[in-house]
Amino acid sequence: MRDQFIIAKKKFKSRLIVGTGKYRNMYECAKAVKLSGADIVTVAVRRVNISDKKKPLLMDYIDPKKITYLPNTAGCFNSKEALRTLRLAREIGGWKLVKLEVLGDKKNLFPEMIETLSSTEILTKEGFQVMVYCNDDPLMAKRLENAGASAIMPLAAPIGSGLGILNTTNIKIIRNQTKLPLIIDAGLGQASDATIAMELGCDGVLVNTAIAKAKKPYDMALAFKNAVIAGRQSYLSGRMEKSLIGKPSSPIKGII
């Protein structure tokens, strides 16, 4: 059976989702996205710059017909703002697959889970397919699933921190309790973090800053692509049992 990555009944080739923020320019962003092999990119909804009409548009660099745009609600601190943003996003191009992110803490950018949960319920009723940024809390993950979320996206660490997965146990617990796509969102710092996420059984990872702010973003985009593939293959291969004592790899019999 082929190993498929399916979100809200749609198949995707790459298990790596990338953000499009923090790049030096649109060209760099588009090239990094291409090298990453991602077929989903997150995008933000913001005011059109009325005074500078020559400012390049993201859609001119990344074609939404070729790559799935996943509108997010970054910068929203309550349900009302998040709902408004995603309804506008849907109006731009008919997008129903969205990333919900309601923040509650301006310093650490932790998710405000009460508002996140109520927004998930409303958006699902309105026909949105909601991928939800959340805490690595198994109980809240279950509630989101019951509310109709299309994917559970716990943080590895605070957004943009690059600290890697801080609570692997909780991620494993969430993995074991849900059949929904489980995607690590936020906090990864280097390619090996993505491999760890995939080896924990996650279905995918979402990365922005770790690529955009690497010294060589193009190389890091490629590194993440390979890391996700390696992690997935490793997970599916079934790791060997751990042992506290050494066991020689070469036969003892026949030693001269």
């Binding site: 953000g19 790049y23 995008v43 933000a44 913001r46 005011r47 059109v48 993201l58 731009i92």
Partner: protein
């Protein structure tokens, strides 16, 4: 020449003077905004882009025009 009466609206958070009875599709056209790449809100209500030619702007209307930018 008859002077055209102007009204003030808020466009993306900034004051803008427009002629009275100005229609919203005209505003979008004048700003050279690619309609397919944006969403438009009038007083916090999302507008159907097919019906823009039917909507006249009124004094103190709040218009928001948004699009997608890079984000994580």
């Amino acid at each position: 020449m008859k002077k055209i009466k102007k009204i003030k609206i808020k466009l993306n958070g900034k004051d803008k003077q427009i002629p009275k009875d100005f229609k919203i599709d005209k505003l979008i056209n004048d700003l050279k905004i690619p309609i397919k790449k944006v969403a438009i809100e009038l007083n916090q209500e999302i507008l159907d882009k097919k019906k823009l030619s039917k909507i006249k702007l009124k004094k103190n209307d709040k218009v928001e025009i948004v699009h997608f930018i890079g984000g994580g």
